[in-house]
Structures are given as C-alpha cells and as structure tokens.
Amino acid sequence: MRVDVRGLSVRYGSVVAVDDMSFSLSGNKIYGLLGRNGSGKTSLMSALAGYRKPLGAVTLDGAPVFENADAMRQVCLVRHTADAADKGDKVSYVLEYGAAWRETWDNSYALSLIDLFRIPLKSKVSALSLGQRSALGVVIGLASRSPLTMLDESHLGMDTPTRYAFYDTLLNDFMAHPRTIIISTHLIEELSSLLEEVVIIDSGRLVLQEEADVLRSRGTEVTGNAGDVDEFTAGLTVLSEKSLGRTKAAMVYGALDDSRLIRARQLGLELGPIALQDLFVHLTEPVGGKL
C-alpha cells in the first residue's frame, strides 16, 4: 500500500506536533519511524490512520484516508495505549471485536499469538501487566493483517525474550503476508535488522527518509592518531568525536570517495560502520541535528 503525505500539519492548540510534512512510502516494506520523544511520531501515525482530521493531505493508494470507509478498512494503528481495547473488557472480548469488525482479521493467528505471548484470555485488559498489554497490542496489529499496519512503540513494555519473539514473529508474518508496516521505536538497534527503510523526524519535521542500508553506509567511524584523524576529517561532516590519550575516534556523515579511502589507508586509520542508533542520535541532536 502506497502512502502519500503532503503538507501535513497536526496542532494541539498552540503546540505544533507535525509541521508541514511531506513524504511518500512506496509500500510493502517494513519502515522504521524514528524520532525523539515529542518529535511527532504518534501524531503523524494518528493522522495516517484517520484517528484525527489532517491539515494537509494523507492518501493511501491515492485515496484520502480520513472518514473514507474503503481506506480506513486497510489501516490498523496500534499505539502503546491499546485503542482497540477497553480496559474493562476481557482479552477474549477484545479479539471478538477484531473478528466482528475487521474483514481481514485472522482469528486463528490471533489465538496463536495470544498463546505465544502467554496472554491470559479470560483476564481483563486492566489486569494485564504492561508487557502483556503491549503484547496484546501487537496481537491486534498483526492479526488485523491490514495492508497498512502501524505499531507505535507498541512493544516497548515487553521484556527482552518477548521482544525477540515479537521480532521473529513480525518478520515471519511479513514474509508470509507482505504489506506496509510502519514501526516507531526507541529500541532502534534491536529492530534495525528488520527495517528496510527509515524515516527520521524531529520537532514535527522530516529529517531524512532513506533505505536503511544506504543510511548505514553514509556513516563511518574513523579511528587512529588524533592528528591524523583531524587531518582526515577536515571538510567532512563530523557528528561526534572521542579521544583517549593520543587516539581519537570520529563519526563522520557522508559517503567517502576513493581518494579519501586511499588517504585513510596511508594514514593507518581504521574505518568502521556506525550503528543506526548512533546515526539517529546525532541526526536528531537539539537544533535539528548536525546536518
């Protein structure tokens, strides 16, 4: 499912959560939506899901989503607050809502996920632990089998083994049922191997949209003698520097051409990749990052 956002703004009174944002997602990939707290991720996803009326245009396969029954049927957004479940309802009842109201709902898959995440079917949602509530949100999102499935930090409450089970499940389900999946997370490194494309936003604005592999290749850690590192990085975009005695490590952003690579070898510098999480941190540093 293709997603197009044009001039989207979301405001809460005088607070601008999303500020004139435009981008397109070609679809059928796992997208990572990355941003710091308060960067506008939830507001953006809420507008994509028709949870709120957009100022600007949000279209799915060319059709506006807000109050459009055909488009809304194709979308499922699970926020960490479990909108598709009422706290007073039993888990089994929450699944009944999905089965009753969503044509694409796969109830047998939902039940298998409930079993995998060890969520008690007869418990009320309010009685579940934070991790179980997170898992229930993931169940709702994946079992919806929606062409556009969005998970907004919905797995953050899970413990580590459960998160790993979630990552495996997500990948297997995506392979079996390819669709457009958007995940926002702060656990970037854990999830980075699943992400095909990354959208980074900050202060309600788009910072960059890039294939994950391309983005990784744009960052390089340069380590060596402090003087040599300084000489090598002159004129490059340096994201951060660390020194220990006479050794220095610098993170640089941008592709290195052949002459640079030759020079690094001549200087005896070590060149290594940068973790996606580190790139994210530096790209979203206060005052819009270092780019």
Binding site: S46, Y51, E67, N68, D83, A100, R102
Partner: protein
C-alpha cells in the same frame, strides 16, 4: 450493521441484567419497609424515572467515549458508527421501556398480593421518549468533551435543557420551573417536543462526532 448489531446485543443484554438486579433489590427494599411501615408508593416508579435515566445517559456516554474509538481503531469510520449509534438509541430506549413495563406488571402483581398502595407512573411512550433523549444527550455531551476537552462544559446547559424536555409530564421527575402549565396545555403534543429534543441531540452529536479525534488513553 455490524456496529449496530454489536451495540444492541451487548448493551441491551447488559441493560437487562442491570434492570433485573435493580428490580429484585427494589422489591427487597419494599419488603423491608413493609415490616415497619406501610408501603404506599411504587419503588419501581422511582427507580425508573430517577435512576434508570441516569443509567441510560451513562450508556450514551460509554457508547461514544469507549466504543467509538475501538470502532475507529478497527478501521470503521465515525460516520458508520454514528449511524449505528443513532439506531441503537432507539432500540435501547425501546428495550429499556419494555423492561420498565415488565417491572411495573410484576410489581403491580406483588403489590396487589400484599395489598400495598402504589403510585401512578408515566405511559410507555413517555418512558420511551425519556430514555431516547437521555441516551442521545449522553452521546452528545461526551462527543463534545472528547473533541474539545474541557471546552465541552459549554454544551452542558444545552444537554440539560434537552433532558428536561421528556421528563416534564412524567410523574416522579418534578415539574418544569416557571411555565408549569405549558406541558399540560400541550397534552400529548408535548411528546412531539421530546422527539425534536432527540433529533436535536442526535444532530449535534453527528456534527461534533464526525471530526472527533481518537485521543491516546492513559496507560
């Protein structure tokens, strides 16, 4: 249709269970009173005009505040939901009226058996309209609060005015201030005013609810 069916089956069933429990409690209270005093009024009449309408109002609140966001989260539009919810108000009011009437029949039989005195109560039509308007007003005020936050308080006077309408000629609800004779002068024509109150409540709910955001709940 799925939303309408869901609302109707779950909330009418819930309403019937609550009504049955309250009815039994009401009879129990009457028996307790009869041990030390004469029973001279219908407890069920008081329950149905004083407590039941607040329960029906709460059902309207629940419908918009709790169920509408779930419907949107499952890919349904507000339009679909509000159409279903409008039909639901009528079915729910009818169901509550039937339960009310059933209660009066059973209570009447018990009172006759025990030789207790009862008090007059409203007609089925009056009950139906009262429940209809209170449910719709619950939806309307909730839609306003959910859309505008504390700004929704501005709709309370309107909601209050609307819920007063169907109760004016209903025994046990109190009289209209200042213009006490107007409802009597209108007679059964007053019911038409109640229908307009319902149409108004549903209309403004529709207008407000169509652009209502689904806000994140507290975890």
């Amino acid at each position: 249709m799925k939303i309408f069916r869901h609302l109707t089956t779950t909330l009418v069933t819930y309403g019937a269970i609550v009504a049955a429990c309250v009815f039994l409690m009401n009879l129990a209270v009457a028996f307790v009173i009869s041990t030390f005093a004469e029973v001279s009024f219908s407890g069920w009449m008081l329950v149905t005009v004083q407590i039941a309408r607040w329960f029906v109002l709460w059902v309207g609140v629940y419908t918009i505040h709790n169920v509408l966001p779930i419907a949107v989260a499952h890919g349904r539009t507000r339009r679909e939901f509000l159409v279903a919810a409008t039909g639901f108000t009528a079915v729910f009011a009818l169901a509550m009226t039937l339960l009310t009437w059933l209660g009066f029949l059973v209570e009447g039989a018990v009172y006759a058996l025990m030789d207790w005195k009862s008090t007059p109560h409203g007609s089925p039509l009056a009950y139906f309209l009262m429940f209809l308007v209170w449910c719709a007003v619950g939806m309307f005020v909730t839609a306003a609060f959910d859309r505008w936050g504390y700004g929704g308080v501005l709709t309370l006077p309107v909601g209050l005015a609307l819920v007063l309408v169907p109760g004016i000629t209903m025994p046990g609800t109190g009289d209209m201030p200042f213009v006490r004779d107007l409802p009597l002068a209108l007679g059964d024509g007053w019911h038409v005013v109640s229908v307009f109150a319902w149409v108004a409540a549903v209309g403004v709910t529709w207008a407000i609810g169509r652009a209502m955001p689904v806000r994140a709940k507290a975890v």
